[in-house]
């Protein structure tokens, strides 16, 4: 019944729509341009220029003792790589020292001697986490988190590290 009434009012709804579109093609062009522009802005801002993760605020994927982490890579590199590589890892341990190289600052944990001298864990501090007046307290453990990039045969390497208070 309802259908009958609609047909009586508009017997050729599709043709009428097509007719309306032809009547104002500018609207269609403007709509396409707006959609294309919005898509372009979205791709530019959120895909092409999407920001790097903020490693200072991002929560750690996993927490582990520094010595345990190093031993995991030494014992079974493939397993440790699949567990930790590319993750934000929080480690706790007693650092052996802090090194400065150009603009970078590294917190270093030494666990053994090898072909490259001291071997262990090296954490490159995030530029906003660098502390120029930082002094290590002997035997006092610290907790750091950062992006673990892998094991190069002598050291487990972290980038963008920061101290966890």
């Amino acid at each position: 019944m309802h259908c009958k009434t609609d047909l009586a009012r508009d017997p050729f709804p599709i043709y009428q729509t097509t007719y309306k579109m032809k009547k104002n093609p500018l609207r269609v062009i403007v709509a396409i341009v707006i959609i294309a522009l919005a898509s372009g802005i979205y791709v530019w801002k959120y895909l092409y220029n999407k920001p790097h993760p903020d490693y200072l605020t991002i929560p750690a994927d996993v927490s582990v003792d520094a010595n345990t982490l190093f031993n995991a890579f030494v014992a079974d590199q493939a397993l440790a790589e699949s567990t930790y590589n590319g993750k934000v890892v929080e480690i706790t341990g007693v650092p052996s020292g802090i090194e400065q190289s150009d603009s970078l600052q590294f917190v270093v944990f030494v666990f053994r001697q090898g072909d490259f001298g001291d071997e262990g864990i090296r954490c490159a501090l995030h530029p906003r986490a660098v502390k120029h007046d930082f002094h290590l307290t002997p035997d006092k453990p610290v907790t750091l988190k950062g992006y673990l990039t892998g094991f190069n045969g002598s050291d487990v390497i972290f980038e963008k590290c920061s101290f966890v208070e």
Binding site: Y48, E81, G86, D102, T149, N152
Partner: protein
């Protein structure tokens, strides 16, 4: 006369000890640069391991692919996931030798041109590479610098047709390493 002999022995021992020493760095810097009219892409790794033996001229570099940092997060993602396949091939390694070290006196500060050649493994593929480099002796450290080109295709890295105009066929690689004497 005795003093001269002792001085000569001490000096030769010092030279021998220096020559026998291995030099290492854990903060070597490798930068690669792709330049096309559409896009410039730069990746920098500042935690490169390298060892250099003055006596034999042997040189080793170990580079973690995931330690390369890029200006844009998307570039870094594409580099690790699509091109370098860093989960599958986490390291790049160079093992080679520096030629002509015998004629260089590393006890004196100075800059020297040398030839470096060896095997470079990237993406699980090993190729022979050869380049000129400079080695500078300064304050007990040895500072190495080299620039050479690599072609991603040679290392089995295929660039999809959609982005072929954004990535250069030849990538410029710059290596900087400040070596300390290993204790």
């Amino acid at each position: 006369m005795k003093i001269r002999i002792i001085a000569l022995i001490v000096m030769s021992m010092a030279i021998q000890s220096l020559m026998a020493q291995k030099y290492v760095t854990k903060t070597g810097r490798i930068r690669f640069y792709s330049d096309t009219p559409m896009e410039k892409i730069e990746g920098v790794n500042q935690q490169v391991n390298s060892a250099f033996d003055l006596a034999t001229g042997q040189m080793v570099f170990k580079v973690l692919m995931k330690s390369f940092g890029f200006e844009k997060a998307l570039m870094q993602e594409h580099f690790n996931e699509n091109y370098a396949e860093s989960d599958k091939f986490p390291n790049a390694i160079f093992k080679g030798t520096v030629a002509g070290l015998q004629s260089i006196d590393f006890l004196k500060d100075g800059k020297h041109n040398v030839e470096v050649g060896g095997d470079l493994t990237i993406h699980g593929v090993t190729q022979k590479v050869k380049t000129t480099a400079t080695l500078e002796s300064r304050g007990g450290k040895i500072i190495g610098h080299a620039v050479f080109n690599v072609n991603p295709k040679d290392y089995g890295i295929n660039i999809p047709t959609a982005v072929v105009k954004q990535i250069a066929e030849t990538i410029e690689v710059t290596v900087d390493a400040t070596y300390d004497k290993m204790n």
